[in-house]
């Protein structure tokens, strides 16, 4: 079906309008981070870099960012291993209960975050009896990160099929060598895309975090939430938000560069 000119124009208009709606609030955040008025009167009367200077010196924000990065890295590492294992099992084998397992993998993201949050909170405190802290936070984050790695890897495995692996084995490579030299290189970009999304998901998560991090551990979203409604801290929060928006270009650029293909299409 060749689209008519009018259809194309209408679609393009819809796309541009959509993108505008997506980006205007982000732009407002960035502009407000320079707004002299701490209550963000719009449009800003005057611009200042005062908030940015204050934000750089804010140790609370810096510590929170570091905690979030650590938690994200650990959770992503666990998710990469478990998600890949599950993807291999489901893509390469037919077995009883296969559908149930695939449902199980998506469950942590298909169920509302608050359910996962209080279920894990209850399990940690009353069933297992461990203190909430960094460890419980990482376990909770890994649980909902598995699905994004799984989705990326299984999509790639389905597309690849088993032919390359069979060829490798016919040529005398064993299971491990085949994985190392054939399967893994072809999976690398899918793992990267899945890993980046998992990290992003963990870095920004607040609902499950609220219930599993305990009072001591403060991730960046928790820090932001605690400071959001404090009038003298709100401008700092805006700066941190702007910095995140601008910095988010880096991982996305990396994903594009390293994978050489669209990392999107899969959540």
């Amino acid at each position: 079906m060749t689209l008519s000119r009018t259809t194309r124009v209408v679609l393009l208009a819809a796309l541009l309008l959509g993108l505008a709606v997506v980006y205007i609030p982000l732009l407002v955040v960035v502009v407000n981070s320079f707004n002299v008025d701490a209550t963000f009167a719009w449009p800003p009367d005057e611009l200042t870099t005062e908030w940015w200077r204050k934000a750089v010196d804010n140790t609370g924000a810096r510590d929170a960012i570091w905690t979030s990065v650590q938690a994200g890295l650990f959770a992503t590492a666990i998710a990469l291993v478990l998600g890949t294992l599950a993807a291999f099992a489901l893509a390469r084998f037919r077995f009883f209960g296969r559908d149930a397992v695939s449902l199980l993998v998506i469950l942590p993201i298909a169920l509302p975050g608050i359910v996962t949050g209080i279920a894990l909170n209850n399990a940690f405190r009353t069933v297992i009896g461990i203190e909430l802290g960094f460890l419980t936070l990482v376990i909770a984050h890994a649980t909902f990160c598995i699905v994004v790695v799984f989705n990326n890897v299984i999509a790639r495995l389905r597309r690849l099929g088993g032919n390359f692996e069979e060829a490798s084995m016919d040529l005398g490579a064993d299971t491990f060598t085949t994985f190392r030299l054939v399967t893994f290189p072809m999976l690398r970009s899918a793992l990267l895309a899945g890993g980046l999304l998992a990290f992003a998901l963990s870095f920004d998560e607040i609902i499950v975090t609220t219930f599993t991090a305990g009072a001591e551990v403060q991730t960046l979203p928790i820090w932001i939430f605690n400071n959001l409604f404090r009038p003298n801290q709100a401008p700092i929060v805006n700066v941190v938000g702007s910095a995140l928006i601008i910095l988010s270009i880096v991982p996305i650029y990396l994903a594009q560069r390293l994978s050489g293909e669209t990392s999107g299409g899969r959540i």
């Binding site: 079906m1 060749t2 679609l11 959509g18 993108l19 709606v21 997506v22 609030p25 982000l26 407002v28 955040v29 407000n32 963000f40 719009w42 449009p43 478990l82 294992l85 599950a86 099992a89 084998f93 077995f95 397992v101 199980l104 998506i106 469950l107 942590p108 298909a110 169920l111 509302p112 975050g113 608050i114 359910v115 209080i118 279920a119 209850n122 399990a123 069933v127 649980t143 598995i146 699905v147 989705n151 064993d174 299971t175 920004d204 607040i206 609902i207 960046l220 932001i224 805006n238 938000g241 995140l244 928006i245 988010s248 270009i249 991982p251 990392s263 999107g264 299409g265 899969r266 959540i267």
Partner: protein
């Protein structure tokens, strides 16, 4: 110097050969026993999700049948249906449940309507290069903090904020903090979760099918209705799983832009925190779970789960 190196190398080689032989034997054994391979692959993820996570959900569900001592705050572990009875009989909970489903449905529809043309342009009109850029443009906002985005809308919806500033000349202003603001904010936040599955679904749809349809005499609209839409439908449903579930569990956006309105998530949160009533929170939490399970089992037939 050279002599020692050679010696070491040959010793190393001896060890390496032994290791390699053992590795090959293991590989051959695994190759002959697919069940063992499957077990090895599945055991760790299954322990994590099937035992630990599902166990935690089970424990929560059991807790829903307990009660809390109003004086001491201790959990009384005797079986009762009181929590569920309260849930079903008190009007306030029914109102909140219906309101939450309504908001989730509205967010899903708004997102689907906005996302479909965008994804369609990305998948079928844009050149491969533009396509890549557009995917990046859609992915980027996912990295911006959820809270900052919700807060951005709060500021924009405020009196004299950006929404008032932009729309007052047109004769209408900000809806103020309330359910409309909540739907807009949540719809805004979950939009990429709707665009990406639809985009992926449309991209998989072969152009030849659409050409065949028009060759057979179908007008563009008919092709869209009878070929594109049925084939892209599972992808839309896949996106709706995200928008629906994310909305059902949200209690933060509604606190930031929703004024005094409460959704299911708020009731659960308040019962865990302020009221310290885990059993009732657990009972309340079964409501979104049941809604989601009904939803998931209803959409399983469409093949949406393969489109996630």
């Amino acid at each position: 110097m050279t002599a020692t190196t050679t010696e070491q190398t040959s010793a190393d080689r001896g060890v390496t050969t032994a290791v390699r032989r053992r590795k090959r034997a293991a590989a051959a054994y695994l190759h002959r026993h697919p069940r063992l391979r499957l077990g090895g692959l599945l055991s760790a993820p299954f322990f994590w999700l099937g035992v630990a996570y599902l166990g935690a959900l089970g424990a929560l569900f059991i807790a829903a049948f307990w009660t809390t001592d109003t004086f001491t705050g201790e959990i009384i572990r005797s079986w009762t249906l009181d929590n569920f009875r309260t849930l079903l009989t008190e009007d306030v909970y029914r109102t909140i449940t219906i309101r939450t489903i309504w908001v989730a449905a509205l967010v899903t529809v708004v997102d689907a309507v906005i996302a479909f043309p965008m994804a369609y342009y990305m998948a079928k009109v844009a050149s491969p290069r533009t396509q890549k850029l557009l995917v990046v443009a859609i992915l980027m906002p996912l990295w911006a903090s959820y809270l900052v985005k919700a807060y951005a809308w709060r500021i924009m919806f405020s009196e004299g904020g950006a929404v008032d500033w932009a729309f007052n000349p047109l004769g209408f202003g900000s809806p103020g903090y309330g359910l409309t603001a909540t739907v807009i904010t949540l719809g805004y936040m979950w939009l990429p979760f709707m665009i990406l599955p639809i985009y992926a679904g449309l991209e998989r749809l072969p152009n030849s099918l659409m050409e065949a349809s028009s060759d057979l005499g179908a007008r563009p609209f008919r092709t869209f209705r009878t070929v594109v839409l049925p084939m892209a439908f599972p992808a839309v449903v896949a996106g709706s799983i995200f928008t629906f579930s994310l909305t059902l569990g949200d209690y933060i956006a509604v606190r930031i832009v929703g004024g005094t309105n409460q959704l299911l998530g708020n009731v659960v949160y308040d019962n865990i925190g302020a009221a310290n009533n885990l059993p009732f929170a657990a009972a309340m939490a079964t409501v979104p779970v049941v809604i989601m399970l009904i939803y998931l089992s209803a959409v399983r037939r469409t093949g949406a789960l393969e489109n996630l």
